[in-house]
């Protein structure tokens, strides 16, 4: 039993110096609050998905395709009560009104829509009372974009529709970040009048069905048999993936993994604070032992204090998390539904409390091993209490790894992935650790061999290697965090500079979909700039060198999906943006194979790598039931990635010219002309959809910007955790530093020199770590930008300079503050004791 006085004594010692509870708290608050916020977010998203899955996917059973529904499927579906079926057609098209045009995402549905959830309109009427045949409901962006109000008419294809109401919510479209174009909702029966159906290339056909649990499997089986080998996808609501589920499973989990790393770092911070505190209490501990207090109650008194702190920290983290969620909703607006109820979830609060207590117990266990060094005889000054004796603790280290692994298993819900990620994390940490050790050893060598001439700098740098300083850990943490943050910044910069902020000068900025051959001449006249037309033939890969795509799917990497629909094209020459990487016949795109069965084909290098094929290999495609086998006669590569069209597979014109095809076109016009041209084209050719490249880039920028902002925010927490490690290691070495300062002072060192030692030490350590992180980030980003994105690599010098300056300011600030708080106030007292 811990006596009341033992508790009182420790509490007074702990809370008597605010630096202990403050650093202990800060170490935990940041990581726990971040974890709680993300866990609650994820829990809220998962709850939202659980409660809205049916509404989000539209039905219990869903079929999707890119072609008209076959007769037998329609007949089968007609066996269901009409009220339990919705036919849904979606595609992009241009709206036209008031001499203006706007890209819209059309959704034409049968009147039983929605089977689940509710679609709402601004007038609060029932959707289909408001939207009668011949009318449409539109999103607010349509009204503002075309200067319209409810009651006005809008042209869609060949038909005109009255805007009956403003569409305010759709149950199956909670997110808007993943689609282009404002929504127009209309009756499926009105579609034929638009005359857009026949010529559209990108119509998504859906049938949503409401079925009882007992019917579901039967219906799925029967429809699957009917579908046979047709290009129709069928899945139940439970099997359907939604964009929101992907956000939860990928992005939020990624952010949480970052935060798990921060949690681990905060454990290091806790360890340092505890160590500093226990060391500070060694004299009291020795007295307690001398007076006969047994080790168990002494340890219990510490455990009790630290667990109390962990619980208090969980409460503070709760408060911080509530505040963060209150003010940060905008950070998540792009990829979370507007109606999602984000709040702190009690399960998450329990989780962080358990994490806080478990981590505190783990860290305390190791920290309290210092108590074993306390011998009661120390009170007779017979034995100096050892300060920095290292205790090897393999069992404890293994327990920490197991605890992290357990957390990963809980987070990822997948044992194998948890093994991979924990292993990866440990490997990355080890690499950085080794790198840090090597660099610091090199620095030590330089100092020891008098490469550093100035006496003050030498003294300061030698401090880096002080026992118990955690220099390697701080170096590892800071360099790793800086690397991630700089990488995000560099990738953002290169992509932004070349694709978004400065739209490439030679790249097309208008894309025209669903163009027909007879429209070329008129379009050329209207655009008055070179227009490139690309024929597109849609096909699936059947075999590669005779091996079925189904078999290969399991063996190939994740670069692409072999079972998807590919766009084939035909041309006589290379595109301007491409070059021949290799060719069967020198510099020839196609060369005849003297074979009646196969035709020559050119393939893009990236997909050739994925499919593991080379010149002479054969790929058989299925084009609407007809097989076409191409033998590779050349391999192409792109100069740079960007908004230029490209095709994985190109055939000679005579091979595909007669295949069922669609066309799209690209052109480059003055930016000022884009909107006018879009309107003119929409007016003349209602079937053509025009996309403004720069506008799309802006939309992507806003989405990507929010993602990178969040990644930076949570990686920034790792930097904060790194600084906590630094602060706590300063605290744990305070007594030694104070002693040194007292010696220096006795020898006549001036105050500014004492401060300078700290500033130089932290600056060298921090800036070196920052430099290493930046160089590594530059190397990795260079390869990603040039090899992966095929873009030119460029450096944001100003941002990097600003980052380095900020880092230095923080380091120097900590050094000065530390000097003032710890050394400045106590050094004279220490000197008096010494004298």
């Amino acid at each position: 039993m811990t006596s009341g006085l033992s508790r009182k004594m420790l509490n007074r010692a702990w809370f008597g110096k605010p630096v202990y509870p403050l650093l202990f708290g800060l170490s935990l608050w940041v990581s726990l609050a971040a974890y709680l916020t993300l866990d609650s977010l994820q829990q809220s998203v998962d709850d939202y998905i659980d409660s809205n899955q049916l509404a989000m996917v539209g039905g219990d059973l869903i079929m999707t395709t890119r072609q008209q529904w076959p007769e037998d499927i329609q007949q089968k579906v007609a066996e269901l009560p009409q009220t339990d079926v919705v036919y849904d057609y979606q595609f992009n098209a241009m709206l036209y009104a008031n001499e203006q045009s706007l890209l819209a995402r059309i959704k034409a549905v049968t009147p039983n829509y929605p089977l689940y959830g509710e679609a709402t309109v601004a007038s609060n009427q029932n959707l289909w009372q408001a939207v009668q045949p011949g009318t449409v409901a539109v999103e607010a962006q349509v009204l503002s974009g075309l200067d319209l109000t409810v009651g006005d008419s809008v042209q869609l294809g060949e038909a005109s529709f009255v805007i009956a109401d403003e569409l305010t919510a759709e149950p199956d479209r909670p997110l808007t970040a993943f689609g282009f174009g404002a929504r127009v909702l209309m009756h499926a029966d009105d579609l034929p009048q638009t005359q857009l159906m026949g010529q559209r290339s990108r119509i998504g056909y859906r049938i949503e069905m409401a079925l009882g649990p007992s019917q579901l499997e039967n219906w799925k089986n029967e429809l699957t048999i009917l579908i046979g080998s047709q290009e129709i996808n069928i899945e139940t609501a439970a099997e359907s993936d939604t964009a929101l589920a992907n956000v939860s499973a990928n992005f939020l989990v990624f952010l949480k993994l970052l935060v798990v790393a921060v949690v681990v770092l905060s454990g290091v911070g806790l360890f340092s604070v505890m160590k500093a505190f226990i060391r500070g209490q060694q004299n009291s501990n020795a007295i307690r032992r001398a007076l006969g207090e047994q080790m168990r109650p002494i340890k219990q008194s510490y455990y009790r204090l630290f667990i109390l702190m962990a619980l208090l920290s969980a409460v503070v983290a709760y408060g911080l998390s509530v505040l963060f969620l209150m003010f940060s909703q905008n950070y998540f607006s792009q990829f979370l539904p507007a109606d999602i109820d984000i709040q702190i979830v009690w399960q998450s609060v329990i989780k962080i409390t358990v994490i806080a207590v478990a981590m505190t117990l783990l860290v305390s266990y190791q920290g309290l091993r210092l108590l074993a060094l306390v011998k009661p005889v120390a009170v007779l000054q017979q034995q100096k209490i050892p300060r920095n004796r290292q205790t090897r603790a393999w069992g404890w280290s293994l327990t920490v790894v197991l605890a992290v692994f357990l957390l990963m298993v809980i987070e990822l819900d997948n044992l194998w992935r948890a093994v991979q990620i924990t292993g990866g994390l440990i490997a990355v940490l080890l690499v950085f650790w080794l790198l840090s050790v090597l660099l610091l050893k090199a620095l030590k060598w330089l100092v020891n061999h008098h490469w550093v001439k100035h006496w003050l700098s030498r003294l300061a740098i030698q401090n880096v290697f002080r026992k118990g300083n955690h220099s390697v850990l701080f170096f590892t943490t800071l360099s790793l965090a800086v690397m991630v943050m700089v990488m995000v910044a560099l990738l953002n910069h290169s992509i932004d500079r070349q694709l978004i902020s400065t739209y490439p000068e030679d790249a097309p900025n208008m894309f025209l979909l669903d163009v027909q051959s007879e429209q070329h001449e008129k379009l050329n006249d209207m655009i008055k700039a070179p227009v490139t037309y690309y024929p597109v033939v849609r096909a699936r890969i059947k075999t590669v060198n005779g091996v079925s795509a189904d078999v290969l799917k399991e063996q190939l990497g994740t670069y692409d999906d072999i079972s998807r629909v590919f766009n084939l094209s035909y041309a006589e020459d290379l595109l301007d943006t491409e070059y021949l990487k290799s060719s069967r016949d020198n510099k020839q795109l196609f060369t005849d194979w003297d074979d009646d069965v196969v035709v020559p084909m050119s393939i893009l290098a990236s997909i050739a790598d994925y499919l593991q094929v080379n010149i002479g290999d054969e790929i058989t495609f299925n084009i609407q039931g007809i097989n076409l086998t191409g033998r590779i006669s050349s391999i192409r590569a792109r100069y740079e990635r960007g908004p230029n069209p490209f095709f994985y597979f190109i055939f000679p014109p005579e091979v595909l010219a007669k295949a069922p095809q669609i066309q799209f076109a690209t052109t480059r016009v003055d930016d000022q002309r884009v909107v006018g041209l879009q309107t003119a084209i929409a007016q003349t050719f209602p079937g053509i959809t025009t996309l403004d490249g720069a506008a799309i880039a802006r939309q992507i920028k806003s989405f990507v910007g929010q993602l990178s902002q969040l990644v930076t925010l949570f990686t920034g927490l790792a930097v904060v955790a790194g600084f906590m490690v630094l602060l706590t290691s300063l605290l744990s070495t305070s007594q030694d530093r104070l002693q040194d300062s007292a010696y220096f002072r006795l020898l006549g060192m001036r105050t500014r020199h004492l401060y300078a030692i700290n500033v130089i030490e932290l600056s060298v350590l921090g800036l070196l770590a920052g430099l290493v992180g930046t160089l590594l980030a530059m190397t990795v980003s260079y390869f990603m930008v040039t090899e992966w994105f095929n873009l030119q690599f460029s450096l944001p010098f100003y941002t990097l300079f600003l980052g380095a300056l900020m880092l230095w300011f923080v380091l120097a600030g900590i050094a000065l503050l530390y000097g003032r708080m710890v050394i400045g106030r106590q050094v004279m007292q220490r000197i008096r004791q010494m004298v």
């Binding site: 039993m1 006596s3 009341g4 006085l5 033992s6 009182k8 004594m9 420790l10 007074r12 010692a13 008597g16 004299n283 009291s284 020795a286 007295i287 307690r288 032992r289 001398a290 007076l291 006969g292 207090e293 047994q294 080790m295 168990r296 109650p297 011998k375 009661p376 005889v377 009170v379 007779l380 000054q381 017979q382």
Partner: protein
């Protein structure tokens, strides 16, 4: 046998050496002694003679290399650290040259501490000791607010609060001026006599030694 029965503490053939830079230095060499109940014994010797080391061995704060120490008929040398702690808690009191009060406890709490860790809180006993050392008026003061004499008086009260059979004092007047030193020694001896505890004091102060029942002088690790 008779001697052992009346003795609180019996030490036989104690030896202790320390390793300093791989050189073994013998500090206590074959020392035997005994302290009877209620007896006041002073251990004297020059600096480095080994008197504090001897005290640490007698008080079970350290283990001898060889020899035996019986306290109330229990052999301290075969006890582990936890058993020794328990033994100190029940049978010993300590007064140190540097006072060693717990800096975060008040005077009264410091005095009460040994009773608390023994699980026998006794506020009346604490009051009694505070009265005895004349510190009732400073009961809520923190150690850093006390003078040297007050600190040592607090330490005296703490050493005797649990009615130990023996009190060990290491240079109890070493950090005090003459006036306070005399006061503290008077108090220590009075309390020891009134509570019947044995008292073992390590000192180099002849004035203290003059007041002892018996003086053991230690020279070069030997008793003479």
């Amino acid at each position: 046998m008779t001697n052992q029965q009346s003795a609180v503490l019996v030490a036989e053939h104690l030896s202790k050496s320390f390793q300093i830079d791989e050189i073994g230095i013998s500090v206590i060499k074959d020392v035997s002694l005994q302290v009877k109940a209620g007896e006041f014994v002073v251990i004297m010797g020059k600096s480095g003679s080994g008197k504090s080391t001897l005290l640490s061995l007698l008080a079970g704060l350290d283990y001898p290399d060889s020899g035996r120490i019986m306290l109330n008929q229990d052999d301290l040398t075969v006890m582990d650290e936890e058993q020794l702690a328990l033994k100190r808690q029940r049978d010993m009191g300590f007064v140190f040259q540097s006072f060693h009060l717990i800096p975060t406890l008040t005077v009264a709490e410091n005095v009460a501490f040994p009773l608390q860790i023994a699980g026998k809180p006794d506020s009346e006993r604490v009051e009694e000791l505070l009265q005895a050392v004349d510190l009732n008026h400073r009961r809520d003061s923190m150690p850093h607010q006390l003078s040297g004499g007050e600190k040592q008086r607090t330490a005296l009260a703490r050493a005797l609060v649990s009615k130990p059979s023996i009190v060990f004092a290491d240079e109890p007047t070493g950090n005090l001026d003459q006036k306070n030193a005399n006061q503290v020694m008077d108090l220590l001896i009075n309390l020891q006599q009134s509570f019947g505890s044995a008292l073992v004091v390590v000192t180099h102060d002849q004035a203290v030694a003059d007041r002892a029942d018996r003086v053991i002088t230690i020279v070069d690790g030997h008793t003479v």
